[in-house]
Symmetry: C2
Subunit: 564 residues, 2 copies
């Protein structure tokens, strides 16, 4: 069997090694356009910042090691220029000497990945304008920084790679501004959770210019001007574009392979394309979102590796199936960890799923053991069925743990309220006897059982103006004095029972505390006396974070802004 693989990074490299392990006799050739195979895309930003010191660390394997251990021919600097399915042949160009040749295949795997989305803007060709995707891109940026010692950078786009890069540019002491059209970084998160990410980014001296449209780049005597719609330009020494990636599928398209959304390669769950004996894996393929069942794209290493393994199995006569992705991902944003799995509220709404959520602020580990820190956790479920749909967590220690536990629960089809039953490992340095995941389950169970009624940020304005309702802030007098929502009257929870005569029984009561826990207790007290009660999910802590974020986004002009 002769196998040709197009692309030697995550999906392609994994598949190549797996095919060898399944078939010692197969003839395996990988054509990789760049000069590197099996490189760690996700490590690239950290090489720029010097966290990863040796560029050799970025390549997990070399063509030599692949040949030695796996008898796999890894042809770097080789671009596949055409596929001829009817003849089972690919055309290949050696980029080093320009020679072109043809190769036959029995099975072909496409793992071309994705390319950075490059908008059609003036000045894209300027030497100070970069994108970050390959090892070559990384070396280019690093070299530019080493040689030119830029003092400032504008980053266009605030997704995963962008934010990781920002942290690393700050490590180098550079001034960094993130500019983008969306008013929120990290689109997998809902705006409320993104507000915590924004806060951390700002705290580390990064300027945010959200809601601004880049219109082009102009070379100046010193640096480069980033032109903005309806705003004065932003001046910087270099610009890095990180506005997303696009599946690199021109080869597949030209070969007549059926395409999916946004030009991706359509595959079935065996990673087979529409043409026999051609498989595809990685960032270029269309997959299923496990929660919505809809077609989706994910540019993540985990799915790419899994898909590569599955394609290899099937290429070798097996019958493996890809189950789709939850889009689980995690990112280090300076000292913050932000993680997500499943769908967010924005997606639920788009998909017409009637969803609700809880927000809690548990400690990463037992409060009495030193070093614990608060995380903010949002868990989303379907209203009618209590199906677990997704979660977002921002915090420090233990965020990645809880997202993975919830990812496993979603994968297994668990009900959101059943998170309360998970028997998770507890010791004071690691967790609490009621783990944050259990706590989320308890809260959702209380909603399911009719013991907890919530209201959310989007309800606040209406409620604040509704004269028929009672609004209570049940925190201590000192907390209340430190900031509260207008119209919410202060009665500390421990004095609530003594003040019932001041609260009309005939009107619904909306209760707020700092995190949502004491207000739940207050609601239960009031319910015990016959009141109709609603608890503010996330508490004043969430409210004030969102409010401050929105205010800063509006205030953030691009010159001389003070966000300290």
């Amino acid at each position: 069997m002769k196998v040709i693989i197009v692309g030697g990074v995550a999906g392609g490299a994994t598949a190549a090694a797996r095919i060898r392990r399944l078939d010692e006799k197969a003839e395996i050739t990988v054509f990789e356009r760049s000069g590197y195979v099996s490189y760690a895309n996700c490590g690239l930003p950290y090489y720029i910042g010097g966290i990863i010191e040796d560029s050799k660390e970025l390549t997990l394997q070399t063509p030599e090691s692949f040949l030695e251990r796996f008898q796999i021919k890894m042809k770097v600097q080789h671009e596949v220029t055409a596929i001829h399915p009817e003849r089972k042949i690919v055309s290949v160009k050696n980029l080093e000497n320009g020679q072109e040749f043809e190769e036959t295949y029995d099975k072909l795997l496409l793992s071309p990945g994705a390319v950075p989305t490059k908008p059609r803007l003036s000045g894209m060709e300027l030497p100070q304008v970069f994108t970050l995707r390959t090892v070559e891109d990384t070396l280019r940026i690093r070299e530019y920084i080493d040689e030119n010692q830029p003092k400032s950078a504008v980053l266009a786009g605030g997704g995963f790679i962008g934010l990781e890069l920002v942290e690393n540019l700050r490590e180098l002491g550079m001034d960094v501004t993130i500019v983008q059209q969306p008013e929120q970084l990290m689109s997998p998160f809902d705006p409320d959770m993104a507000a915590f990410i924004h806060g951390t980014v700002r705290k580390h001296g990064v300027k945010l210019a959200l809601g601004h449209t880049v219109e082009g780049f102009v070379q100046k005597e010193e640096g480069i001007d980033v032109l903005l719609e309806d705003e004065a330009p932003l001046r910087a020494d270099m610009v890095i574009l990180a506005i997303g990636v696009t599946p690199d599928t021109h080869l597949a398209a030209e070969a007549g392979i059926e395409l999916g959304i946004r030009g991706s390669i359509a595959v079935n769950d065996r990673m087979e394309t529409s043409i026999p004996d051609i498989y595809a894996a990685g960032d270029a393929v269309q997959i299923k979102n496990c929660v919505t069942g809809r077609d989706a794209l994910v540019s993540l290493a985990g799915p790419a590796n899994k898909q590569g393994r599955i394609a290899a199995d099937n290429i070798c006569g097996g019958d493996s199936h890809y189950q789709g992705s939850l889009g689980s991902s995690v990112i280090k944003v300076f000292d913050l960890t932000a993680a997500v799995t499943g769908i967010n509220m924005k997606t639920a709404e788009q998909e017409g799923i009637d969803a609700d959520y809880v927000i809690l602020s548990p400690m990463s580990h037992a409060g009495y053991y030193p070093g614990g820190k608060v995380m903010t956790m949002k868990v989303i479920f379907e209203k009618k069925t209590y199906r677990l749909l997704g979660a977002q967590i921002v915090g420090y220690e233990g965020v990645d743990k809880r997202i993975d536990v919830i990812a496993a629960a979603i994968h297994a089809g668990m009900k959101a309220s059943d998170l309360k039953d998970l028997d998770l490992a507890y010791a004071p340095p690691y967790s609490s006897a009621k783990d944050p995941v259990n706590m989320a389950g308890f809260m959702i169970d209380n909603i399911e059982e009719g013991r907890l009624h919530q209201f959310h940020m989007e309800d606040i304005e209406k409620i604040s103006q509704d004269e028929r309702v009672i609004r209570l802030d049940i925190r201590t007098k000192m907390e209340y004095a430190g900031g509260h929502v207008d119209g919410f009257v202060n009665i500390p929870v421990d004095e609530l029972r003594d003040h019932l005569d001041e609260i009309s029984q005939s009107r619904p009561v909306y209760v707020m505390c700092q995190s949502g826990l004491r207000s739940y207790i207050a609601c239960r007290i009031l319910s015990g006396y016959g009141y109709e009660c609603y608890n503010f999910a996330g508490g004043y802590r969430l409210y004030s974070t969102i409010k401050q974020d929105r205010c800063l986004i509006e205030k953030e002009t691009l010159c001389g802004m003070d966000l300290s």
Copy 2:
């Protein structure tokens, strides 16, 4: 409704607060024998070592806070001395003034916990002999240490609390010896995994005297002699017994409540005892092991809290059910983290479950990102069905994460091989694109698909003596020279294809490498040429750890041993 709760720690305190939240009108009284309620049992060792500085931190709530917020009467220093179910009355003794009185109840919840197992040995009453269970015990030990500045301690028993205490005594600069009859610390682990724990404990200067029986204690002019069977006594300044706990159920027994294994209180999954309107929760009750379906005892805070909540629901007219425990637990042993969920191989064998396992040594996060450390992971499954049965992990960062993910997978009834499909969150500081949990799933999938045949530590001796088999160590020459198993011939994996003519096709080949990964590749190469191949699970790394541990256990005499 008048509710009486016996015991005001984890299960009892949780239930009390939950009952109030469900029923504002209930009259709730908690009788707690000790002077503290809602205290953090699991934090006690850390107070002794000074990691937790203020003893107030150990109590999560006080009687005052319970009264103020929940209108719950927390009667500390009150012992319930008898239950009279026919009259729905309990007899109570005020331990401060000796007064006795009776209290009626509509619903009674027993949450008496467990008491340290005290063997009948001579000298148990000596002032230098302690047990650790309550805040009072902790204060007593701490006070003794502060006043007498003991330089050495013997710890009898090496379970969770014992090991946590050892770490804290070492923090104080004391010489510590652990002595116990079992040849292994931490019985929830299998001996192979316990070997890693032993190694860490020894590395931190703790002497292990495993396989020795304590026969009593004798006061000496300086310190105390711990008498041992067939050995010279051990001299120390103080002794702490931590050989386990026993359900404290004399009250229940005297009231005619049906008992379960080891004198525990039998309950159904609604936490109801055999007598109407009497519930029980916490360390004293018999629960179901979720994996085996058998009756079991667990002394863990997580299950106690869950049971308390469930009992409260049912006391208040709800219908909540406890689903049993996986015994998930985690412990910090100096810099090591050791965690376990589900059942181990010892239990599988006892229960007649035909089980197998994989052992892997993955990095906590991407190898190219600084700070990653190797963990050792054992995942156990049922041979026929590939049902996921349990896991044990020892390592550093990320151990607690992986055990919780696997705990969720077991809870959800996932197949072990399906761990490969979990979509877990990856970024270089947190994980690898193939998470350790996925890796375990890949390995088990390979076994299920017949692509991986293993051999284990217990097979080594037989295989080493079997002249009909071929034994290969496929590590590098340098690794081999650094230590190998006798009889295993060295052919580095990358040279294997060139040496096939030296390996007889007619004989089974047993292959070993450092961790089990390269030997798997070697096995696949050999299989491709028609060989029958077996891979050593865990590699030489596991073999040498176990060997060294066994050797040290045998060598460990109690005087002047050199374990450096």
